[in-house]
Each structure stands twice: as C-alpha cells, then as structure tokens.
C-alpha cells in the first residue's frame, strides 16, 4: 500500500512540521528564561486530562462535544493505521468490530466538524472572529473525513457480500459505486486513498503554521502550566531586576510567549470576561492576539539584536491599550476556562507593573490608592491610628495581641482594611467576632500593627509597595508566633495563603466560610432559629476560582432552617465577577457597570436575600441592588451575619 514515494512524502511532511516547530521555538526563545520544572507526573496527568478527557473543552456545549468527536476521529483511526502497519492481519473477530468502531468514530468526527463549521459561519457567535485559516482548517478536516470514507467505499465496492455491513458508512457509499465498471473502481481506490493520504500529510506538515498550531503549542503550554499556588503572582526581585514588569514584548518570559502561540482564538475567555461583557475595550482574547501580532512583527528586529529599532510600542501602539490593562478585575475567569491554560491575568499584571513601577503611569484614582496604602496602610486613606476604632463602634472587644501581652490563642483574626474601616464590613467582622465568642474560640487581632495585606497594591501593579507591606505584616505576625489566620476577606485570604510564602511567611489561612463550617460540624455552633426566605449566594472570584471554596458557604447556608437556596445561572466556579477585584474597587467604571449586571442576575432569581462572603462583593452588590431600587425588598448580607442570626 505505502510505496517509496509515500515514505519520502511522510518524511518530508515530518521535516516541514519539525522545521515550523523549530522556527517558532526560536521565536519563543526571544523571551526571558523562566523555570517551569517540577512534578513530571502531574504535568503529564494534566495534559491527559486536558487532551484525552477534554475536561475544559467540554465545559462549553455543544461545541465541546463536537471538538471531542473530531479529536477522537483523528486519534483512533490514526492509531489503528499505525498499529496495522506493524501487525497486519487482524483476526475477523477483532477486525469487524474495529471496522464498525472506526466507521462510527469517523462519522461522528465528520458530523462534529460540519457542526463546528456551521457554528462558526452560520451562527457566528460573538466570541469567534473568523480568519481564512479557520475556514481552511475546517475544510481540510472535512476533506480528510470525506476522502477517508470514499477510500473505504471504493475498496468495499470491489468486494461483495454483506459482512461489510460491519462498515456501514463505507458499505452504504459503496452501493452506487457498484454501477461503475470494475477497472474504474480500481482507479478510484487508488485515487481516493492517495488524496486521503496527501491531505493527511499536508495537515501534518502544516501543523505548526496555522490554526492547528494549537495542537503542538497548546499541548506544550498545558504541559508547562503553572503548578504553583493558583493565582499567586510572580514576585519581582526589587534589588536585582533591571526592568520591573513588562513594557516590551521580549520582557515576557518564554512561557508567556508560548501562551501567545498556543491561543486558538476560541473566545471562551472573552465570553466570560466581566469587562468585555459590559462593553469595555478589554477582551482577554484580543489582548493575547494583539500581543502575538506585536511579537511576530518585532521578532525580526529582536533576532538582529535591534529591538530598539522597532518603533511601535507594545502598549498604546495600536494593540493593547491602557484602558484594556486597567479594566481587568483579575477575576480569573479567562484563565480558569482557557482550554490551552493561557495565563492572561499574569500578563496584564506584568504590564500594570511596568506602567506603575517604571513609568509612574496609572489612573488618578490609583495614585490616591497607592498614597493611601503608603501613608496609612489601607486603601481608603483613613488614618492608620484609627484602625481599632471599629471595635468600640461595633461593640466587640477582640483581644489585641502585642509582643508584651501575647497569650496562647487558637487563631489570629485578620480584620482586613474593609473590616476595620468600611462601615458595612465592620458589621460583618463584628458578627464573626460574636460567632467566635459564642463558639468559645480563643483568638486575637493585630490591632494597629495590622496593615493592608497588599492585594490592591499587587493586583494594580505596585509590587514595590506590596512587598513593603508584606514584610511589615510578616514581621508583626512572626513576632507573635502566629500559626493560623482567619481571614474574612477573600482577597486577604489569597494573598496571605498563596503569596506570603513567597516572602517567608507561612501560615495556615482559612476563610470564615471554612472556619464557621468547621465550628458548625464540631457542634461548637448550633442553629437555634429559622430564617425563612429565599437566598441566592454570590460567589467571590477570590473564593471560587482562586481558592476552590464553593461548597463551604453553601453548606453553611444549607444548614439554616427555612432558607431556600436559589442559584444564579452563573455560580460556583463559573460565577460572574462583582467588578471590584484588581484594584477596580477604587476606580470609577465607565458605561454599563459590572455590579449592576450581577445584581440584576441575582434579583432575577426572585431572592429576597443575597448572600456574599467578601467585602467588595458586598459593597458592589448593595450598590447594584440600590441601582435597581430594590434595597427595600432585598437585603445583601454576609454569610457571617446570616449565621449570627440563627445560631447560639
């Protein structure tokens, strides 16, 4: 079947593909080195889940299913063909069901491909942008399936008998072919088979060059994905770094450039992006594609070592804009959904770092934010000496730990800036205090020694200020021998648990949803009152997508008698952001406001209570409910406040 010419062509196709991969790898090598070593088994396991199980791809239906069909319609027959080359004659008892399976798999593959084509060019969903390479890739795949079936059919047309009903599609297509004289059929077998082979070889050769580049580069990208704590940004070594953040494309790491190569423009990120979906210029897909286009344009200059000669800037040079960079709420929905595991948020933060640290450029509200953090160690700029005032105001008296007066304590209650200064969240932290008292937990607070955990500084690019705050907090906590921290703000939770270890601060950190659930299951807190009502719970991105905390708040709320839980269409790890992450809490929002969109979604469940577990979400949703003029009928409460009402 396969002759010398075919072998030569196979080798040529492999060589062309390898050449493309090498060329692109050299372009990737223009970036900065980045260590992504670590657990090989975990890396391979991740690739298997992503590729063989299609776990992220299948989240969006029906296109995920269609992609799965097409994927296996390639993998299975290709494997069989390779195996058959080695071990020729299969006994009929194996060959027949295998023939049936191949027919079905290929049939599904063709169906899937046609449906994908129909979706892209018929339905045209907003998240897809069409380029010629998309059409050609789909047509190529369809042609491979069709020629495959025609090869089979023409081959079967040379045989007679009904045992070939095991190959139903080929059998059916062979029926009309019987009308042709046999020599013609012989020619057809050869013709279709050659066509099929050459199309496959063409696909193989073109693999790294176009749309299908997501196969080699996507797999490599998934293999090299970040295995570190989810959502922890890379620290900058302030003393040794020559550039802070990324303002030139070659300052991205090689892994970050591989990200750009792996993007297949499926737009799943864009479809979920809170900024994009409220009419902002930002689209994660566009950011990746803009950076990629810029990189490809600049690469020839960089190869000659003349990066400076390339005049077009990466930021505000027609691609990524300041507006894009500052619109991101760091909700991580793009990253958690990307089938190629591209790291969008880290790139946006790197560009923010460049703007803030290298250029001192940022929206004016962020200048105020940064100065507030510098001078008073909280984002609102209330005097730092007033950090304990909430206690008298809310009539709670947690023990303030000092080095002199430092008794044994079970857990450090991290009050957080919102807990200390925000009128609304003071009440929530006071509820947490009363619940801890009720359960007999011994706990203390840092008092005025506590400073902002640094999340707003880091997410908005000010790594320098961030590291200053972190160092001071770690020093204060280590002096007190803190081991376990209870945080009521998911942003504090993220930075304390995932990022403080980067600077030597290792603590067990839990969110109040986890801690209170623990107290309930231990029987240290018991529900004694009903709370009739219908509640919808809004997940904080920093709980659901950053910390995988989805079940705990629901279990807590589920334990309240009389409370009926109504889920929003977008909930759990698929929740829609409130709009306040990534420093956006302190910035003005133009146009449609994210929090209003989310509040509408919450109100549409018919709930009379909206549950939250994050100070920013609480503020944003309260504002959103007010914007709908529903504040009289619908209350927005933190889970701690709800629990305080029903427990003893």
């Amino acid at each position: 079947m396969v002759n010398g010419l075919d072998f030569a062509l196979i080798l040529l196709a492999v060589a062309v593909a390898a050449g493309g991969i090498v060329a692109k790898a050299r372009r990737i090598a223009l970036g900065q080195p980045e260590a992504r070593s670590g657990d090989l088994r975990a890396r391979i396991g991740g690739v298997c889940r992503a590729v063989l199980r299609h776990d992220r791809i299948l989240r969006d239906q029906p296109e995920g299913r269609h992609h799965l069909y097409l994927f296996y319609a390639f993998v299975i027959p290709l494997t069989v063909i390779v195996v058959v080359q080695v071990a020729f004659a299969l006994p009929p008892v194996l060959a027949r069901p295998l023939g049936l399976a191949l027919d079905l798999v290929a049939g599904f593959g063709l169906f899937g491909t046609v449906r994908l084509y129909q979706r892209r060019y018929g339905e045209q969903p907003d998240r897809l942008d069409n380029r010629p390479e998309d059409r050609w890739a789909l047509i190529l795949l369809m042609a491979i399936f069709v020629t495959g079936f025609l090869t089979e059919a023409s081959r079967l047309s040379l045989l007679s008998g009904f045992e070939y009903l095991w190959n139903p599609i080929g059998f059916a297509l062979a029926i009309p072919l019987h009308l042709l004289p046999e020599p013609w059929r012989l020619v057809l077998v050869e013709l279709f088979w050659r066509l099929h082979l050459y199309l496959v070889l063409f696909t193989l050769a073109s693999l790294p060059y176009g749309k299908l580049g997501h196969i080699p580069f996507g797999v490599a990208n998934i293999f090299l994905r970040n295995l570190g704590p989810k959502g922890a940004f890379r620290p900058i070594d302030i003393e040794t770094a020559e550039v802070y953040g990324v303002g030139q494309v070659e300052q991205f790491t090689r892994k970050q450039l591989l990200d750009l190569e792996a993007c297949v423009r499926c737009g799943r990120c864009q479809a979920r992006c809170p900024a994009y979906n409220t009419g902002k210029s930002l689209s994660p897909k566009k950011v990746i594609q803009d950076l990629r286009a810029h990189w490809i344009a600049k690469a020839p200059c960089l190869r000659k070592g003349q990066g400076d000669a390339f005049e077009q800037p990466m930021i505000e040079g027609g691609g990524v804009s300041h507006d894009d960079i500052w619109a991101c709420t760091t909700c991580r929905h793009c990253m958690e959904t990307c089938p190629m595991m591209i790291e969008h948020v880290d790139k946006i933060v790197d560009m923010r770092r460049y703007l803030v640290l290298m250029e001192g450029q940022m929206p004016q509200e962020l200048v105020t934010l940064n100065k507030n953090l510098e001078n008073n160690f909280n984002p609102w700029g209330v005097g730092w000496s007033a950090r304990n005032d909430w206690m008298t105001r809310r009539k709670v008296s947690p023990r303030i730990l000092t080095e002199e007066e430092n008794p044994e304590f079970e857990v450090l209650l991290w009050v957080g800036c919102a807990g200390a200064y925000d009128d609304r969240y003071q009440r929530v932290v006071a509820s947490v205090c009363r619940l801890l008292d009720r359960a007999g937990v011994s706990y203390g607070v840092l008092g005025t020694q506590e400073k902002c955990c640094g999340d707003p500084a880091r997410a908005s690019g000010n790594e320098y200020l961030y590291q200053t705050l972190v160092a001071e907090n770690i020093a204060a906590m280590d002096a007190l021998g803190v081991k376990k921290i209870l945080a009521s703000c998911p942003h504090c939770l993220k930075t304390l648990s995932k990022e403080y270890p980067q600077f030597g601060g290792s603590y067990e950190v839990v969110h109040h949803s986890q801690f209170l659930l623990e107290l309930m299951t231990q029987g240290r807190l018991r529900t004694v009152r009903d709370l009739p009502g219908r509640l919808t719970f809004h997940d904080s991105c920093y709980l659901s997508r950053y910390a995988d905390i989805v079940a705990e708040p629901r279990r807590l709320l589920g334990s309240v008698q009389g409370l009926e839980l109504a889920e929003m269409p977008r909930s759990g790890t698929e929740n829609f952001c409130c709009g306040a992450g990534g420093g956006r809490m302190w910035m003005e929002e133009e146009g449609t406001r994210i929090n209003n969109v989310r509040a509408e979604e919450a109100l549409a469940t018919g709930a009379d209570l909206i549950g939250a577990a994050c100070p920013f979400c609480l503020t944003m949703l309260t504002d959103g409910v007010k914007a709908q003029k529903k504040e009289e009928e619908v209350q927005v409460l933190d889970i701690a406040e709800i629990l305080e009402r029903v427990t003893a």
Binding site: M362, N376, G383
Partner: protein, 249 residues
C-alpha cells in the same frame, strides 16, 4: 532655570494628633511623617518647568537628620539635589525658617522659589511671604497656574470669588495651591536614583544664617470633645429644641 523648592516634613495629616502631656508640642512617638502635601505640588511644578525648558530643581528641608527621608521622597519626584539644614534640635517659627531659607537663597541665587502655600501641621502660611520680604522679591501666593516668560512669571492665583492674574519679576517667590497640578507618582527607578542624589547637610551657621524666633508657642490644647448628637422624632420637636434649648432661632 534654577528653582529652589523648600519642603517641610509634616506628621501624617490623617492620623489623630496627640499632645505632649506638658502641652508644649505634639507627641511624635509612633507618628509617621510625610512630605507636606502642598510642597508636592511645588516640586511637581518646578520639575515640570525644568523638564520643559531645562535647568535644575534643588530642595531645602529644615529640621533634623530624619528630614533626609522627606528629601529623598522629593528627589524621587524629579528634583536634582537637596539641602538638609540641621537645626541640632532647635525649633523655629516661620520667621526663623524664612531667615534660613533666605541664607540658602543667597548662596544659590535661584531664578525662582516655589513652595507649598502652607504646611499642613501648623498651617501658618507665613514662611513664603516672609522670605519674599526678607529678600525684597516679588511674591505670588496660592498659584493656580504658572507661566514663565523671559524674566517674568505670569501667575493665576485663586482669590475669594475668582482668579487674579499677576505678573511678577524673576526671581520671585510663588506658593502652590492644590489645583496647580497633579503630582506624579514616583517610578521605582526614580526612587532608586533618588537614593544616590546629593543631599548637602549644613547648619544655619554654615549658611551664615542667624535665625531668630519672633514668636513663641505658649501652649497647645485639644479641642473640647464633641457631645453626642440627639435624635428627634419630628420637625416640630427639632424646631422646639432649636428655639428653646439651643436658642439659635
């Protein structure tokens, strides 16, 4: 153009001020100090002028060794060098401060002095005016906009009920109001560079200054604590209370 910018180290204005027990001053223990916010506008304006048309900006801060921190923060905003006048523990009122600033002026002969309209700690709003008087220079205070033309400065200043446009001959003393500009946020390379910029440490004697205090603080006292408010049930009750209790109607 050479521009002199005096900068003041002030206690963080957002933190509640506590008085020393003897009432002679404020408690500085545990208080963080910042660059006087009005002086940041002055630095920004001076730096913008030199960025546009060349020259240099030098800062002057009067106090103790701790003022170096204040000066480094100012240098990070783009000033080129600085003087730190160490008073060796002495304290001076506006007039004494103006004496020292005048001595620095005479050494450096700048074309322009820009400083904050007042420092947010004592709120005296006098040093600039006294400095202009001691040097016999023109002054334009509370600047909203500054434009330089050869040998002159055209200053728009905010006055009650409007703007006044004033032309002053250079050298002159200009004080910055908060609408003069939007001070920049120092970049990290600028902060690093500021660590290496020259800070010349001098004493009043080195400058040939003989500062004199012509006023003296006798004592400080806290405002009386605010009394708790009252809630009233109706407008009638409110009017009744305003008429009969507060006796303001």
């Amino acid at each position: 153009m050479k521009i002199m910018v005096p900068v003041r180290r002030v206690p963080n204005p957002d933190v509640k001020v506590r008085l020393k027990k003897d009432g002679t001053g404020i408690e500085t223990e545990g208080v963080n100090f910042l660059v006087n916010p009005f002086d940041e506008y002055a630095i920004e304006e001076a730096v913008r002028i030199t960025e546009k048309s060349g020259g240099e900006v030098f800062l002057v801060s009067i106090g103790g060794p701790e003022n170096e921190e204040t000066l480094r923060a100012g240098l990070a905003l783009g000033a080129h060098r600085a003087y730190l006048v160490d008073l060796g523990g002495e304290c001076y009122e506006s007039s004494g401060i103006a004496d020292i600033l005048a001595a620095v002026f005479k050494q450096e002969n700048p074309d322009l002095v820009i400083l904050g309209k007042q420092s947010v700690d004592t709120d005296n709003n006098q040093a600039a005016q006294m400095l202009a008087a001691k040097l016999g220079l023109a002054q334009a205070c509370f600047a909203y906009k500054v434009e330089l033309q050869d040998g002159k400065a055209v200053v728009q200043r905010e006055i009650d009920g409007g703007l006044e446009v004033k032309e002053v001959e250079l050298p002159a003393v200009i004080t910055a109001d908060l609408r003069l500009n939007q001070p920049r946020y120092a970049s990290l390379p600028a902060i690093m560079k500021a660590k290496k910029k020259e800070v010349k440490k001098v004493t009043p004697a080195d400058l040939g200054a003989e500062p004199k205090n012509r006023a003296r603080v006798l004592g400080l006292s806290e405002p009386p604590p605010r009394k708790a408010g009252q809630k009233v049930a109706s407008v009638d009750e409110l009017v009744d209370k305003l008429v009969n209790e507060a006796k303001v109607l």
